[in-house]
Amino acid sequence: MASAFLTLLKRDLMLALRRSSDWLNPLIFFIIVVSLFPLGVGPDGDLLREIAPGVLWVAALLATLLGLDGLFKADFDDGTLEQLLLSPHPLSVLVLAKIASHWLCSGLPLLLLSPLLAVFMQLPSSALPALLASLMLGTLSLCLIGAIGAALTVSLRKGGVLLALLVLPLYIPVLIFGSGTVVAAAAGFEIEAQLSILGAIFLLSLSLAPLATAAALRVSAE
């Protein structure tokens, strides 16, 4: 089972390396959206600093959502999804491998880029660790939760909008506590409570989302 997990993880990372547009597009979207704010709002440092946590978090959330549409689509189109369903290994484990590789290609680069964009937004450097920690737990949860929606809409021709409608309500708690962490850190408060809740959301989605995604894929394969 572990070897199947690693095989699928390796296969998807290899595919991402050979076809970079799939994971680069959401990343470029993230950069563009955030860098438009200083231009649109003006160079007022105080205002930018005030809205920085919200802007960074909303842009990260939308970038994650943008990349999710393709999570199972290519596999569905070329028939490899059928082969995954026919694997004797638990489908939820295979699904977890796909989500992990998706996060490594989309969430991790986004995380690494965020300090640079935080400077754009005049976020105080004391809030950077909170931004990184909240984005790390947050994007992981967003990928896990979004995978359920991606699996439900994989057989639809234009499932993107429906995916957003299905998934966004579930994203709201992550957004609230994620940006709340950064706001608190920027104001010099303790962030333990917010991070604990983000951690709890991550663990909950880690344990339930692969099962729900696997069930949704079996329904979509009809």
Binding site: M14, Q83, H89, P90
Partner: protein, 219 residues
């Protein structure tokens, strides 16, 4: 798996794959109902019928992709989907899509699918040679012709080494040699006590095999 190859029309003593009273609907439209089939070790089932008669749906039903409206499918006497993982570890399905990644090479594709199906890739070089793709082994599947891609998926049958094969139109886009290859693969597999269910529009010459026919229009 019992190694005996059942020749002739003697009644199947121990059916491994059985379907009883199966009905499948597409929306309100009934594709087939009260369909029975039973297949034992060393037997072949050829499913034939017109376009749209439900051949593919029947095979997808046997793979548990499509829920059955009525009836049951049993493997080794256990009604599916109980023990689904054991059933899947003994089944290889070849559908309309080859299930290959265009950006991966032939060998990379086969190695990944071997690991996912729980088989070891020791027979991989021999399988690639058997389907005649030695010179293409390191090419990305995207650059192969449709027939060559089909050959890659035939290599999967050899690597997976499972008793039950479910093949949906295995001859699609294959040349004459490819047809002979498929006939050879099926005959050998059945000779080793395997089971094959396939659909086709071109008759296959499977000498020495116990071939049952299933006409979709009868159900």
């Amino acid at each position: 798996m019992a190694g005996a190859c059942a020749h002739g029309n003697s009644p199947v003593s121990q059916a491994l794959l059985e379907a009883t009273d199966v009905a499948v609907f597409r929306g309100d439209h009934c594709l087939f109902s009260q369909l029975d089939l039973s297949l034992g070790s060393g037997q072949v089932l050829q499913v034939s019928g017109d376009n749209g008669s439900g051949k593919t749906t029947l095979l997808r039903g046997l793979c548990l992709f499509v829920p059955l409206e009525e009836g049951a499918v049993r493997w080794r006497g256990v009604t599916l989907p109980a023990k689904r993982d054991r059933y899947y570890s003994e089944l290889t399905y070849l559908g309309h899509h080859e299930g290959l990644k265009g950006d991966l090479s032939v060998v990379e594709n086969l190695r990944a699918s071997a690991s996912l199906s729980g088989s070891d890739a020791a027979t991989l070089p021999a399988a690639v040679e058997r389907v005649g793709l030695v010179n293409q082994a390191d090419l990305p599947c995207r650059s192969l012709s449709a027939g060559q891609r089909r050959r890659v998926s035939l290599a999967r049958l050899l690597i997976s080494n499972t008793p039950l094969w479910i093949l949906d139109e295995p001859l699609t886009s294959l040349d004459l040699h490819g047809k002979k290859l498929v006939e050879g693969l099926i005959t050998e597999h059945v000779g080793n006590g395997g089971l094959v269910v396939y659909t086709t529009h071109q008759p296959l010459s499977l000498s020495g095999c116990d071939v049952q026919m299933l006409q979709m229009s009868d159900w």
